[in-house]
Symmetry: C2
Subunit: 340 residues, 2 copies
């Protein structure tokens, strides 16, 4: 019920604001032009005022203005598969000439044959094998170059554009709006830290030290008299589900006051954020726009998915706790910067 | 040899600067008043000019101005024992009434009897047992309170003052000077992240998200309907020796351009910092002042120690690689803010 009351109050404030300022003045100063006017956009603006206006009873000191964003499905698409999985599959194909044994060995054979059914049958164990073969065995500097080169050439299968151009325009505006108001914006993703860092600054304006994610172990070694960090085929930390509050506490050491996600993997991050005192903003992106992007749930009867599942139980928790669910279809005037 | 040439050139620059400005003007603008004038102080100032003056060929963009500082023995004393060990021993004594079995069980008995010999005999395994018994089994919020309360009441056995007052004044000036020049200052310590965070902002001006250190595992749980992170008796990461570059890469994701340490535990951090291109500043604090603080090595024939060992091999690597060794006795006009 709480969310409905808040949305009602926010609507009332929108109305008052537009009457006071007139529609022209309102549009001119709009920090979120790709968000459709309405209660959700207004909730964001109200939250920023409530936490940054020094006369507000819920004012938050700049150092404590921490906002955390999931990446896949929250800031850019996670369909038809996670971007990092697309990278891993491409990498396996690139490395295949050096590994003739992969022609007959699963799960590598499935990748080389583009056999999605066999790939799915390999399960999580197979996935870890693919990640390790494509993400370990090189230095951190070499891996950074491999990832950067891939982002410079790879394109999304549906949108036929580099992944960097697929950042959601409304979320880019939200990131910029929060930063302009003294917030420190962090990525907190299940994706690999060193897969994300080569692009987060250019794409999202988030510097490397503000990227929290999954890690594999690295080892300090001397190679030709120079120190390197070698990436080992050994998982260090999985920054997903209950791992997200753990990662936030480990890397940031402060509880966020705003958190943005889109799936069951973000549930605990939103719970952790919401459990603090004072003004809080928790939002979930619902992918309900098959025309402009994708539609999946299975919440609200949308099709089920393996990438970025939004279960009905998450929708119920959102309703109960006052988390705001963003409908891509209704709330976003445009999704990508290249639209129109 | 390189270091000698640099010190000679720096001396020359000090001379020219003092001739040009006159001693009064020089003293007035001194950002490092607790450092004795001389080549080492001048090296620091020259490095800051070289990296922050836009006309300098070695100019560094603000975002890349990362400086990492070891804590124990670099920013405050590590004798007669690491501060965190003093905390652990106090904590064991506080908890003893709830653990009658400790009266007869090592290494706890040794702590309760103040039996240093038996404590030493318990070795590293014993130490880990003490750390786990004192640092795990509570939530992160509870631990933060325990640590904060301890820092508010505990005093150093020799200096009879709260630990927070024992930060080295020259290093506080150095931290402030670097930050005033757009550097981001990080703690990179073998100490526990959550033991340090409750005091780093007040004592060093370093916020929680810029503290890299050792961690124990934490687990996200619901307790009375509220989420908590429970501290488990299980080591997650040791941020010492070869672990320091690993920690720097994991948490910061950028290579520092300046690094400050005092012991064998900092060797790899300085190597990693020095292996980057452009202007670099690597410094080691040598504790050679038994009168005002402590004197230990065993480098340069100083007494050996278990807390913050500075071996002769580190001195040789410093000389070979141009790392600057700070003599507390000669280079620091005062060590603590409460002196005089």
């Amino acid at each position: 019920m709480r969310i409905h009351l808040r949305i009602f109050l926010a609507s009332l404030l929108t109305l008052i604001a537009s009457l006071a300022l007139g529609p022209a003045a309102f549009a001119e100063n709009d920090p979120l032009p790709s968000w459709n006017d309405g209660p959700i956009k207004q909730e964001i603006i109200e939250f920023v005022h409530a936490t940054t206006d020094e006369s507000s009873p819920t004012f938050v000191a700049p150092a404590e203005r921490i906002a955390t964003f999931d990446n896949d499905g929250t800031l850019w698409p996670s369909h038809p598969m996670y971007t990092q999985l697309a990278f891993a599959l491409d990498r396996i194909k690139t490395l295949a000439p050096e590994h003739p044994e992969w022609k007959t060995k699963q799960p590598f054979k499935a990748v080389l044959d583009n056999d999605i059914k066999a790939l799915a049958a390999a399960g999580e164990k197979g996935l870890v094998e693919l990640i390790m073969a494509s993400h370990a065995g090189m230095s951190t500097a070499e891996f950074e170059k491999i990832v950067t080169d891939w982002f410079n050439t790879a394109t999304h299968p549906r949108f036929k554009r580099p992944y960097a151009e697929l950042a959601y325009q409304p979320m880019l505006e939200l990131l910029a709006y929060l930063r302009a108001n003294g917030f420190k914006t962090y990525i907190v993703s299940g994706g690999g830290v060193e897969f994300m860092r080569p692009m987060t600054e250019a794409v999202y304006g988030v510097p490397p030290e503000q990227v929290v994610g999954s890690t594999i172990k690295t080892k300090y070694e001397m190679k030709d008299g120079k120190p390197v960090l070698m990436r080992l085929p050994d998982i260090d930390f999985i920054d997903d589900k209950a791992g997200k509050p753990v990662g936030i506490n480990k890397f940031i050491g402060r509880r966020p006051i705003a958190a943005f996600g889109n799936s069951a993997g973000d549930r605990q991050m939103l719970e952790w954020t919401g459990a603090g005192s004072g003004a809080r903003l928790m939002m979930l992106v619902l992918h309900d726009d098959a025309e402009r992007e994708y539609a999946y749930g299975p919440a609200k009867g949308l099709p089920n998915t393996k990438f970025g599942t939004f279960p009905q139980s998450l929708m119920e928790e959102a309703d109960e706790k006052g988390w705001i669910v963003i409908s891509m279809k209704k709330d976003w005037a445009r999704i990508f910067s290249f639209e129109e």
